[in-house]
Amino acid sequence: MNALRRNVLKSAAGAGTVAVAVAAGLLKPSMALAGAPRSAFEAKNVGDALKGMGATGAVDSKDITIKAPDIAENGAVVPIEVTSGIAGTTAIAIISEKNATPLVADFDLSNGAQGFISTRIKMGQTSLVRAMVTAGGKTFTAAKEVKVTIGGCGG
């Protein structure tokens, strides 16, 4: 089902095709609109998470800014701010590479929402925090290392 959804979204020239798919019962409305499939959130490593999101082959970009502390004293609450300077940004995903489930969140932006997301995440240990930005059907990425002194996952 998820693979189907990806294909439908990829081939969709506009919202019209998706609407047709919804009407035809191929897609539930919530599925067509939600971001990465739930399976991507349960993936145990970065590769599987990216595959689940359909975001392999991302290109490094200097237009993505990740604002995060160099050293996080408390891994349970790490403030992360992602700004995408790429025109036409439609989605931002945040990945903490060494977390038990690396994909932390995925934000679909539309109707004037800017390429900006600010949130707080949990980090199990020191690792790269990666932002995946989708713009114009392409995926771009940037990463920043955050050192964690006390882990926020498991205990």
Binding site: F41, Q114, R120
Partner: protein, 104 residues
């Protein structure tokens, strides 16, 4: 867990700056209870949507990696002061919550 959610939305130039604070335990399901040694069941927000004047601007999927009592900030171009921002969330147990605020 339907405790109130707080939203603050302010205009900065032509961009609305929206800040949301949700009340949620955000349990990953991977943590062990220190007393019993049993895994604490997962209970976290899986989806957050936001709309301005009824038009969807943000649709987010979340995993257990978001901190307890999630904070979310985003910016939307176009709205005017007085427009309404509505934020909804749903968690993995089907609980949901909605809050709205007026852009000031």
């Amino acid at each position: 867990m339907a405790e109130p959610m707080r939203i603050r939305a302010t205009m900065a130039g032509d961009v609305a700056d929206v800040k949301v604070l949700m009340n949620h335990i955000m349990e990953t399901g991977l943590r062990k209870d220190s007393k019993t040694g049993q895994l604490v069941p997962a209970h976290y927000i899986t989806e957050v949507t936001a709309s301005v004047n009824g038009t969807k601007v943000l649709d987010a999927g979340m995993g257990g990696g978001i901190s307890k009592n999630p904070y979310l900030g985003f910016k939307v171009k176009g709205p005017k002061a007085g427009d309404k921002v509505v934020v909804n969330w749903v968690d993995n147990k089907g609980d949901k919550n909605t809050a709205e605020a007026t852009i000031g």
